[in-house]
């Protein structure tokens, strides 16, 4: 090498590969308002669909007359369940093995349920006609309380399956029962509780919340009668799944369905499932022969498509008197609403809830989950978490605090004592999960040092004493949470959706001039995939990230994949990307050897080139090799430079983190001010630290919303009272606290680049951390658990019940 040749480090930096805080390439269009969302799709002759919805939570439909609506100028068609029956689409299968009404068939089971679909020349005409569809209802008794769903006299929600004794997951024990699912060793756990020195038991509710993406769900369906082909643009987190399910439901052959997910304005699990609006739009397009657009408004989004959580958990911990946990037991009632449209891997009706032993070394554990029907909207999606992981993390992190309180131990010290130790990895939990890697104590220690935890506790004590003396009306709370996620679904032996193994894919083509395109089965909704996948390729292939186009969302061009949710893009498609790169690199190496007239093994990789070992001046750069791949490949070798990989991960990945939060509570109003929030995350190999930080900020902000104010609330008559931003707490920049982020980096040993996924960690760890902080402030006055959300009146009520208002 001469002096003019840049060093390896200089060349590596120019690639903007893994570890680089590369600016998000998608933001160039987003910040200029040039994104292309479903609502931007406008086709010639396009019609607009709008839904008539039920004002009742539970009622029989005694009359449905569309005559007046159909007579509104501009109205082209009005669909009802009777119309859908003619094409056998009044009901549709759900991802969870249940069936769901597309339009109300005889009765309505939740407020705002879809009753009829009006199709018109304009949105305005459709909205006018919606008000003129005449529906008469005979109200039925309503139940919105999951704890009462299996009472002997509970209102029967699902008459269609009243005689069905076997559900999708075994025997049903009540007409409102969906499934029972258990994990762990019951006998061993019961024995641990019998021997325990100290036990705690608490009823912990994770309220029903909503993912609430800024862009609501929408689609445009366009059926070409001549070709018999359907093109469907939509807000789909999993476009291929939509195509397959769409084909199975509609009987249109899969190759004649083209699903396109353009730019998406946030998903968070809300955009995984198939909704009535999509089915109605497809049918309407087939019936009218014209494209049909359906756009959900905010009220419809909050009250009908895909809620999350609604887990009601009875949790117990057994412990020795010196603070070593010995057993964990949890019984959960899961409210799935009127239809089981939960988005889980099919074999896991309660998702990966058995991650509930968390980050701790429990020798014995057992959990049982009963799913029930109520008069509430269907859903149960993994809102910014892997399936039901945030419910599990919330439950165990609250329960650990409650046990520490009973033992008189500090919450951090008690955790430190029970965390799985570094030398125990790979660690098999009492529920059978194989945690691949981690160094938990180091993470917690770092968090405690960074926040000066001991000093915080001293300050808290002084402040509490001042409160008792009447010198202040403020209490300080310190929240500690240590969470372990289980993401990257998933190993196909464990996870499938309707029988489709949960692998994912990447297809990379390197063009002759050395730039390239990568297409994947995942779908970004704001995660920055166009930026980060290109960084993996840059490092793996030595081509600048700027020269790689990343494309997702078109089922005609992208390889098959299961989509983006459950933090699975990096663990699964990120791995597929690296593996496809390695196929390309292996071929490039052979071409280089041929060109340099050496044996393959005589070459070594150096950032962006293969060079001859011991003779670094003889090399071929990847750009040169790309050109050669199209005009001077070795005899017998196929030309071209591309590869595809379908990656079936050997295991899940297990990101983790240690979070600490400090709050100041105004006891007289119940206002909680977040003074400080420190989040340390370990997501393994860090692809783009800036994007990771952004993900942490976003997830913490959502966690803040959930813990401090969110609830999809139903009154006893089945009315959803929180269906707009007036009453559903979505924090703005004004309410959002300042976030401090930090990290450790323990790569996943089974992942090709060691990455674990990060987008969902802050939601999973954030919610218990906020809640623990609020609970911590009151724990010194004898309170063990205050239910979320910790909004003003509930916090004030807790203080009132503790006699803190004098």
């Amino acid at each position: 090498m001469n002096d003019m040749t840049p060093s390896s480090a200089e060349r590596a930096a120019k690639l903007e590969g893994m570890g680089c805080k590369r600016k998000r390439v998608e933001d160039i269009r987003f910040v200029q308002g040039k994104g292309n969302y479903v609502d931007d799709v406008k086709l010639p002759g396009m019609l607009y669909g709008d839904l008539v919805r039920s004002p009742h939570g539970h009622a029989r439909i005694t009359r449905l007359d569309t005559t007046k609506a159909a007579a509104v100028p501009g109205v082209v068609a009005v669909l009802t369940a009777d119309v859908l029956k003619t094409v056998n689409l009044a009901w549709m299968p759900t991802l969870a093995g249940d069936v769901q009404m597309v339009l109300a068939d005889g009765k309505v089971l939740f407020q705002n349920q879809e009753v009829a679909f009006v199709v018109a020349e304009s949105r305005e005409a459709a909205a006018d006609a919606v008000g003129l569809v005449e529906v008469e209802y005979d109200p039925l008794p309503v139940n919105v309380d999951p704890l009462k769903a299996m009472a002997p006299d509970a209102p029967m929600i699902r008459e269609d399956i009243k005689d069905k004794t076997e559900g999708a997951h075994g025997k049903r024990k009540h007409y409102n029962h969906i499934f029972s699912w258990q994990a762990g060793d019951k006998a061993a756990t019961d024995a641990a509780f019998e021997k325990a020195d100290v036990k705690i038991k608490e009823f912990i509710v994770y309220p029903r919340v909503h993912p609430c993406p800024l862009e609501t769900c929408q689609c445009v369906a366009s059926f070409d009668k001549i070709k018999g082909e359907l093109t469907l643009w939509g807000t789909f987190q999993a476009p291929h799944v939509i195509r397959t399910v769409g084909s199975l439901i509609s009987k249109i052959p899969e190759h004649k369905i083209h699903v396109i997910a353009p730019d998406i304005g946030g998903g968070f699990g809300n955009k995984v499932g198939a909704y009535s609006g999509y089915i109605c739009s497809i049918v309407a397009s087939i019936v009218t022969g014209r494209p049909v657009k359906w756009t959900e408004d905010r009220i419809e989004n909050l009250s009908t498509t895909a809620f999350a959580r609604d887990f009601h958990m009875d949790v117990e911990i057994a412990c020795t008197k010196d603070g070593k946990v010995t057993g964990l037991r949890c019984y959960t009632i899961a409210d799935h609403g009127a239809f089981d449209a939960c988005a889980n891997a099919t074999k896991w009706p309660a998702g990966l809830f058995s991650i509930i032993s968390g980050s701790y070394d429990f020798p014995a554990a057992y959990c049982l989950v009963d799913g029930v029907y109520t008069n509430k909207a269907p859903g149960g999606v993994a809102y910014r978490c892997s399936f039901r992981v945030t419910e599990a993390a919330y439950c165990i992190e609250r329960a650990m605090d409650i046990m520490a309180q009973k033992l008189g131990m500090d919450a951090a010290e008690f955790r430190m004592k029970n965390l799985i130790r570094r030398e125990q990895f790979p660690y098999t939990s009492a529920f059978g999960w194989q945690y691949d890697s981690g160094d938990y104590q180091t993470a917690l220690k770092k968090a405690m040092e960074a926040t000066n935890y001991k000093r915080l506790r001293d300050e808290q004590k002084a402040k509490r004493e001042a409160f008792r003396r009447g010198e202040t009306r403020e209490l300080m709370g310190i929240g500690v949470a240590f969470f372990t996620e289980i993401v990257g679904a998933g190993p196909s032996r464990a996870c499938d959706i309707l029988g489709i193994a949960m692998f994912d894919s990447a297809e990379i083509r390197i063009h002759p001039t050395g730039s390239g395109i990568c297409r994947l089965g995942t779908k970004s909704q704001g995660q920055g995939h166009e930026t980060t996948y290109a960084q993996i390729i840059a490092t793996e292939l030595g081509l600048p990230a700027d020269t790689i186009t990343v494309e997702e969302g078109n089922t005609d061009t992208a390889p098959y994949g299961l989509g983006t949710y459950g933090s699975r893009s990096t663990p699964v498609s990120g791995a597929a990307t690296a593996m496809a790169c390695r196929k390309i690199k292996a071929k490039a190496q052979m071409i280089a050897a041929y060109m340099l007239e050496v044996h393959d093994d005589d070459l070594e990789w150096d950032v962006d080139r293969f060079r001859v070992k011991g003779n670094p001046e003889r090399f071929k750069t990847m750009t040169e090799l790309a050109w050669a791949a199209y005009h001077e490949v070795p005899p017998g070798m196929e030309p071209g430079l591309e590869a595809i990989n379908y990656y079936d991960p050997p295991n899940f990945t297990f990101p983790y983190g240690a979070y600490i939060c400090v709050v100041d509570i105004d006891v007289d109003t119940g206002m909680v001010k977040v003074r400080r929030f420190y989040a340390l995350d370990d997501c393994g190999t860090r692809i783009n630290p800036m994007i990771i930080e952004g993900q942490i900020h976003g997830g913490l902000t959502e966690a803040f919303g959930i813990a401090m104010g969110q609830e999809i609330h139903y009154d006893p008559d089945g009315n959803v009272t929180t269906a707009s931003f007036m009453d559903y707490f979505l924090p703005t920049a004004v309410e959002t606290p300042h976030w401090e982020t930090d990290w450790t980096e323990v790569p996943s040993p089974h992942h090709p680049i060691g990455a674990k996924g990060v987008g969902e960690s802050p939601n999973v760890g954030g919610v218990p951390c906020f809640s623990n902080a609020v609970n911590d402030a009151f724990s010194f006055f004898g309170s063990t658990h205050i239910q979320m959300p910790h909004d003003h009146w509930r916090v004030w009520t807790a203080a009132e019940e503790l006699g803190l208002h004098g």
Partner: protein, 288 residues
Amino acid sequence: MIPGSFEYHRPSSVQEAIGLLAKLGDDGRAIAGGHTLIPMMKLRLATPAHLVDLSGIADLKGIRADGSDIVIGAMTTQHELIGSDLLASNIPILRETSLQVADPQVRYVGTLGGNVANGDPGNDMPAVMMCLGASYHVMGKGGERRVAAREFYQGAYFTALEDGDVLTAIRIPVPPAGHGYAYEKLKRKIGDYATAAAAVVLTMSGGKVADCSIGLTNVAETPLWAEEAAKILNGSSLDAATVKRAVAAAEAITAPAADARGPAAYRTKMAGVMLARALARAKSKARG
């Protein structure tokens, strides 16, 4: 969330607006900033066939001194209230309150007239106007009349306005120089209506309350003027015991609805907490 169709009118004078409203009768609605009416129309809870937009009427704009009063045109936006030097130096509670109304985007368009005229108990300005002893200029078929803010509110969305009336201006007597003031509002987030809020204007003399007025927001069907509570405070040094009695008197006149902000009993308590805090802050600002 698509409103029904309607005809849009944009008169350029108050007389023209009143003529239009008289002609249109029940089919017509006056619209100011639209932050209450338009959401109602999107939900189709309101379906006016005609909207009479008041924003083209120059006479309804502006803030001016008129003797010992300040007169504010009904179509003056909250943002303009915040920026007014005349108000800042004479009735600073208006700036303080405006900064707590909704959010900046809403304040650019939302008007003082709309805020006080539509009778929404969640609006912040009505209680402040009752506290300040303001009166409203109302133009109708029978000409102009003035209605005291303390007499204006009859129930949720029911006011002294008759069909076809337009509230044209708000007249506020300037409180004595050196007065103390505060608007304390508890809300869940920016843009929210008050869980409870209290407006206080007081003057101190020799360490005692010489005069005091109190308004309460969103703790009854109408904004409240807490006359009894104020009477208790007059002549006191705002000592803890007297404040406690005044707070109890203020709480006693509340009748809030339970909503997502909390149960009725909580909101009543919060009215008391806001009042106590407003009194303390007003006292700290008062001279004399």
